[in-house]
Symmetry: C2
Subunit: 334 residues, 2 copies
DNA sequence: CTGTTAGCGCTTTCAA
DNA sequence: TTGAAAGCGCTAACAG
């Protein structure tokens, strides 16, 4: 099987420098303890031959790739992008690279996608709101080292980072109730989404202990388009305030409402969730819950680093999003 | 060197199934032409042993990883995120994964970063506005297969996708001139950025053939913070319209101006560049140049696919951004 | 200090 | 049709 890749191999460098491959390997990895002149010679031969070590072969020999996967439901969502950006930056500091995958690519086969990408690297940071608990549990074993985002689960032995959607959405509802709103409508996220379920649970709770408040739900999604699409239904719902699944939806909704001549917040209040970088720049600026995505990405790497180096990862954390009151919410119209 | 990874190997599966590794390999890759019953047996043994082929070993034997790198100056910029999202989606359809790197991680050593990540995969899609032409030329050879974004260059034999910043910024300037603005100020991008240079050249050109128009320049950057930071200088510049390096800067500037009590567009017009998804949602909505980032990502993959399969890639393309007039520009105040 | 050698786990030619 | 064996390029025991 001759395959001239064009790149020089360690054996060629060794031959040209009159030493053994082991010596070249040592020199290239700064583990060489012999005479400086020979190290110098090896280095210069390597340069002459434009030798560049095969990361692949090295990985195989070492049994590790120094790469991890980051799997999210939607790479186009700024919330996940922020996590990716900080995760990648943190991992890079330790010589790790990140491989990305958008599970929307294969909505049907998330487990397959994750397993496939896992085989290419050393570990995975998984953000899979739509995967069922059962699937997740059965998959977890083969995925380790694994860090979970937003899917804390007793049955899975993997560090997890999560966001308290439940209490977060209640803060939002409370804020609206305080403003006098008595009829709210929640635009739901993707069907089957765990994080959507937490929001719904939180809202149910809230409604239970707030007798005067009614909370309707209408199906939505996770994108601006979804928000835009439900604008008319939201206007016609009779509610005076709308809680969107996330900021993207809220922004689309805001736009749709304005197009329909609904004034925000005079006629209707609107809230988001995430506090993506642009939430503060909308018209009006969006009242939302601030989730520290950069922090999540960085923390995910800390856990992961501990895992891959055989240490004990720091404890799991649950982030409590912070209510960020801006201009899109106001007193209920009478 | 015993290293029990825990995962079954092809040899173990072969032994358990009473066949040779070669047979297992053939079965796993659907290249097996023998008796169906033995294929069945191999498959079931593989499942029992939870065998999952080592992508690493396979890559080494095959001489390819089915992964490409995507290197950008700033992973936190929505423009690059849009490209990443579509690139990743397109590549995934052909069984390729993408490895990301943010060159802001190592501002000093972009060439090193790129070389390092290139060694981990089969090819690289490079977006390196700040690298010098000389560096790029000397690097290109060792990077191939290579697709360049925004760095068309005669001396480099690599497909390139670019954006006509030069004429784009002129469209913007013309739009402002048509509105009666005679004194513009351009907030420059990062120092040494090629795409910034193109904008500056375009503006110089424009000024040359528009005698009545004066265009100042002030140093800026590429982020919202940079835009925010120059707000006061922009207000005091005496100009009636500001062209920001990109949308991020424009959004920060918009915010800063408003904080300073400057009305946009009544007192001053502001423009961006990129048309990121949120440009339409700012207050006022941002007049900008629309760059088809998703298209760029998808096209980059098309070129790359051709390259890695030894075909001739489609011709280079230069995208002409489309002027998107929205609310942040208006008639010059008198 | 340096080289020999045996892997890492898979693919593929070649021969049976 | 199937298997033996030789790589892919690198690392790390173990000798010397």
């Amino acid at each position: 099987m001759k395959r001239r890749t064009g790149a020089a191999t360690i054996a060629e460098v060794a031959a040209a420098a009159g030493v053994s491959p082991a010596t070249v390997s040592r020199v290239m990895n700064d583990r060489f303890l012999g005479d400086a002149s020979i190290a110098e010679r090896v280095r210069s031969v390597a340069i002459d031959l434009a030798y560049s070590p095969s990361h692949l072969a090295r990985s195989l020999a070492l049994g590790q790739t120094s790469a991890i996967a980051f799997v999210v439901p939607d790479l186009a969502n700024p919330a996940f992008q922020a996590m990716l950006s900080s995760l990648s930056k943190a991992a890079a500091k330790d010589g790790y690279r990140v491989l990305v995958a958008d599970s929307a690519e294969s909505p049907s086969d998330e487990p397959l996608l994750v397993s496939e990408i896992r085989r290419r690297c050393d570990a995975v940071v998984l953000c899979a709101p739509r995967m069922s608990d059962a699937e997740l549990v059965s998959l977890a074993g083969s995925l380790r080292p694994l860090v979970l985002i937003n899917r804390a689960n007793d049955q899975i032995d993997a560090p997890s980072l999560s966001i308290d959607y439940r209490s977060g959405i209640q803060d939002l509802a409370q804020h609206l109730a305080d403003l006098g709103h008595r009829h709210l409508v929640f635009i739901e996220g993707p069907e089957g989404s765990a994080s959507n379920r937490h929001r719904v649970d939180g809202l149910d709770d809230f409604q239970r202990r707030s007798p005067g408040v009614r909370i309707d739900r209408i199906p939505g999604g996770a994108t601006s388009e979804d928000g835009l699409a439900v604008a008319a239904r939201v206007r016609d719902s009779g509610a005076t305030a709308a809680l969107a699944f996330n900021d993207l939806v809220a922004i689309g909704l805001l736009n749709g409402l304005i197009n329909l001549g609904v004034r925000v917040p005079e006629d209707m209040s609107v809230t988001g969730f995430d506090d993506i970088p642009f939430a503060r720049y909308t018209t009006p600026p969006l009242t939302t819950l601030s989730v520290p995505h950069e922090e999540l990405g960085a923390q995910a790497w800390h856990r992961m680093r501990a895992l891959v180096s055989g240490e004990k990862p720091e404890p799991n954390v649950v982030f409590h999003p912070r209510l960020e009151v801006r201009g899109s919410t106001g007193p209920a119209p009478r």
